[in-house]
């Protein structure tokens, strides 16, 4: 039982990473019918911006310019990096996707792959091939809950992730921008005719998704502090799977599917050798998709024809 609970905690942590990244995929896919294959690399960019930000703040503290406790440095790093990565996302949309909005979807998808390669190799050119180490900002403290060991980092990661997801859910459900985003997912041609600027909503969608990916990148770096330019690729693919599993454009679906992915991976590894983890985990997901091809909360495409 304690073994199970221990794994549950780990699954929640990994699920948080997947869910945060999947949300960005899902929103862009829902609203612009576009697979933003550069999104995993935005996660990587977010982690590196966070690395730069944290290093800068630590250097300032060491130099004596300002006295900040390290938890405050982490908070500032997360907030500033989310903002800067959102700008990167908006630029990607403006430069790479907006000119292709009416192009065939395959062209846009290929563009995403190319943007991803540019971000990876751009990072390589800028910082070199060696990995960097994310500075340790919070001291690890382990709590013992009757044999289940939980670190303060894990609690922080899951709590921050869930808060961000709730904020996003509120935003999409209630605000005028959120309403516009949902409307675009159903029929985007009429949205501007109701006085809503399409480009603003598209840029906002990319910005929000990128900010969440940056948060995931930094939280990941807190837990696993070694960064390399290709760290976003596998994460990107897995989060993409979660986005599809959740259903087109569904915030709730992407969140739940992200966590489900974390659970399946961790619990498969609990029973089988860890080298078989992804093989078995993704076979299970393949079977789920065969039975639910539009994911958990996606609607069948035939519905588009009915109205």
């Amino acid at each position: 039982m304690t073994h199970f609970l221990q794994n549950l905690v780990n699954a929640l942590q990994w699920g948080s990473f997947y869910a945060l990244i999947a949300l960005g995929y899902s929103m862009v896919y829902g609203i612009l019918m576009l697979f933003n294959f550069a999104h995993g690399d935005i996660f990587m960019v977010g982690a590196y911006i966070g690395f730069g930000m944290a290093s800068l703040l630590l250097a300032l503290v060491a130099w004596g310019g300002l006295a900040l406790p390290s938890w405050l440095i982490l908070v500032l790093t997360i907030l500033v990096s989310m903002f800067l990565t959102a700008i990167v996302g908006v630029i990607v949309e403006r430069v790479a996707y907006r000119p292709l909005r009416d192009a065939p979807r395959a062209s846009a998808a290929i563009t995403g792959l190319m943007v991803g390669i540019i971000l990876e190799t751009g990072n390589l050119a800028l910082l070199g091939a060696s990995r960097v180490r994310f500075p340790s900002l919070i001291q690890s403290v382990t709590f013992d809950f009757g044999g289940v060991y939980v670190t303060n980092k894990k609690i922080m990661i899951v709590a921050v992730s869930i808060s961000l997801m709730i904020a996003l859910h509120q935003f999409v459900k209630r605000s005028k921008w959120g309403m516009a985003m949902r409307a675009m997912a159903y029929d985007y041609v009429v949205v501007p005719l109701m006085g809503v600027p399409l480009n603003t909503i598209a840029a906002l969608t990319f910005g929000l998704g990128s900010a969440l990916a940056a948060a995931a990148g930094i939280l990941f770096s807190v837990a696993y502090p070694v960064l390399d330019p290709y760290m976003g690729i596998v994460f990107g693919w897995k989060a993409f799977v979660a986005a599809i599993l959740g259903g087109r454009g569904s915030v709730l679906g992407a969140t739940l599917a992200g966590f489900l992915l974390g659970f399946i991976e961790i619990f498969v590894a609990m029973v089988f050798p860890s080298t078989l983890r992804d093989l078995i985990a993704y076979s299970i997901i393949l079977v789920i998709l065969v039975f639910r091809p539009h994911g958990f909360f996606g609607e069948p495409y035939s519905a588009r024809l009915r109205l």
């Binding site: 904020a167 509120q170 935003f171 605000s175 005028k176 921008w177 959120g178 309403m179 516009a180 949902r182 409307a183 159903y186 029929d187 041609v189 009429v190 501007p192 005719l193 109701m194 006085g195 809503v196 600027p197 399409l198 609607e299 519905a303 009915r306 109205l307």
Partner: protein, 256 residues
């Protein structure tokens, strides 16, 4: 002075001229109808005026301001609301959400308000919701306000489209074949609703329509469009008896 004027508008798709030298003038409170056989370019004219396409030539002036070539959302928020021939609703959003979203350009609050809620946002949203519910009531949809539109009967969906267009507080309302697929009872109902909206809101209306009963009862002026050109304009009686109009409809369908 005219509220909406279109001067000498021409537009081609590839080599095909879809609309040629089109003129229009609508005064405040006037109801103008646009008739013509299928494929004559009626909806293209709507799309050109509302900014979905930018016309190759010509000028569109709304309330004294040249709006030619502006983006659709800019034109819409300047006071041009429209409906669509093939219903275009956001399937799983509620009636109220449809009408609220059309208040977008009048809701003025920032990102902070959007995420965490501010008094400013709640105030603005309360005002927008009040306005939306008034329109929903005017179109007889109050009991359906919180329903998802995909579940509504066809006639109600048509009225949701109209409520959404009216939420823009348009100076001119564009209706693209509002009676398509309607039964005679629904037709009488929609005529009554359009009359009520026209009377209570005092707006000008520009309608694409085929049914003679409808245009005779509602429109003060008519234009007949064939192959992208206006072949006749006048009062409904004049148009009905115009030999060119009758000829254009022969083999297609009768004007009635």
């Amino acid at each position: 002075m005219a509220l909406l004027t279109v001067e000498n508008m021409t537009h081609s798709f590839g080599g095909l001229t879809a609309v040629r030298n089109y003129d229009l003038s609508i005064s405040p409170g006037q109801i103008v109808g646009l008739i013509g056989p299928n494929g004559a370019g009626k909806t293209t004219i709507f799309n050109l005026i509302t900014g979905i396409y930018a016309p190759d030539q010509g000028r569109v002036v709304l309330n004294g301001e040249d709006i030619t070539g502006l983006r659709p959302h800019e034109i819409a928020s300047r006071g041009l609301g429209r409906t669509f021939q093939d219903l275009r609703l956001w399937r799983h959003m509620t009636v109220l959400e449809h009408v609220m979203l059309a208040r977008y350009s009048r809701l003025d609050y920032g990102m902070w308000g959007a995420f965490w809620g501010t008094p400013r946002r709640w105030r603005q949203e309360a005002a927008a919701e009040k306005k939306a519910r008034e329109l929903i009531a005017m179109l007889g949809l109050s009991h359906l306000a919180d329903q998802v539109v995909i579940n509504l009967p066809y006639g109600a969906q048509r009225r949701v489209e109209m409520a959404r267009a009216l939420a823009l507080e348009p100076k001119v309302l564009f209706l693209d074949e509002p009676t398509v697929g309607m039964t005679p009872e629904e037709l009488d109902q929609i005529i009554a609703i359009i009359k009520r909206v026209h009377r209570e809101l005092g707006l000008a209306i520009f309608i694409i329509e085929h049914r003679l009963k409808f245009v005779m009862e509602l429109c003060q002026r008519l234009q007949c469009l064939v192959f992208g050109e206006v072949i006749a304009r006048g009062t409904p009686e004049e148009i009905q008896n115009d030999p060119k109009v009758i000829e254009a409809y022969l083999g297609e369908e009768k004007v009635a």
